[in-house]
Symmetry: C2
Subunit: 152 residues, 2 copies
């Protein structure tokens, strides 16, 4: 496999997964969530975060993170709450709809993975995942991937 083909296939595999995920999400009540939003939601899920923390995790400016939060709040996935301990901070938390979306996404992704494992054969798939894990261990944080594609 030439080096260029390797890169193309990695992207293709990722895109196939994400496209299938969002097709299914759209069909199940979440037509207005975009791939990029998933990163933000996953970064918000573990615990309430501030805009600055979110920006750091996503690798964007705090202004861009704030804008993403605006969109997610408009669509009902997150809410801003005041921090009683610090009047500067506005904590972003998941709404029930946001939690539902994450749970649904996890379930769908799990099924997509199972389908691929079954189609390929469990042993071959395990070997594939083993290689992928080795390839990506030591890479940057999991979320710093939203906007790196663009530029002049």
């Amino acid at each position: 496999m030439p080096g260029g083909e390797l890169a193309l296939r990695l992207l293709g595999a990722f895109r196939d997964l994400i496209d299938a995920l969002h097709m299914e999400l759209a069909a199940r009540g979440h037509p207005d969530v975009r791939p990029g939003h998933g990163f933000a939601l996953q970064a918000i899920a573990p615990a309430p975060v501030t805009g600055s923390e979110l920006a750091g995790r996503l690798g964007v400016t705090k202004q861009a993170a704030g804008r993403t939060v605006d969109v997610l709040a408009e669509r009902g996935y997150v809410a801003r709450t005041d921090d009683p301990a610090d009047a500067r901070r506005r904590l972003v938390v998941l709404t029930p709809r946001g939690r539902e979306l994450l749970a649904l996404s996890g379930e769908i992704l799990e099924r997509l993975r199972s389908q691929r494992a079954a189609a390929m054969g469990p042993e071959r798939f395990a070997a594939f995942e083993d290689g992928l894990r080795t390839l990506t261990d030591g890479g940057g944080g999991p979320f710093a991937a939203a906007g790196w594609f663009v530029s002049s």
Copy 2:
């Protein structure tokens, strides 16, 4: 490996490759080419194409493709030529600099792949590539990946 982690690692592996590629390209005389441009150049390389054909291959509108060609032409990687057989068409061709860039990219990607294969062990890497190939066979065309990440 949970389904979400699978997707994240696929993207991470791709991003690592492309980041390393463009770091190296920048250091070797091509600091102003962007990841998205690579897709366009590869789509142009096999034979002269029109803007509409390019748009189809990249999965964007003809206006967006035309704009990409503008940028690549400004930077000396492609040139527009008139088609003597059809006055409507403006064929886009690679310049020598464009061909040099593609050759260099292929060489660098090949080395990046070899490094990863050596680090992991040739047998494990072969198994990994075998799985990846199986996973992505039957997927969409190779280039329809430039702009799918964005949206409202």
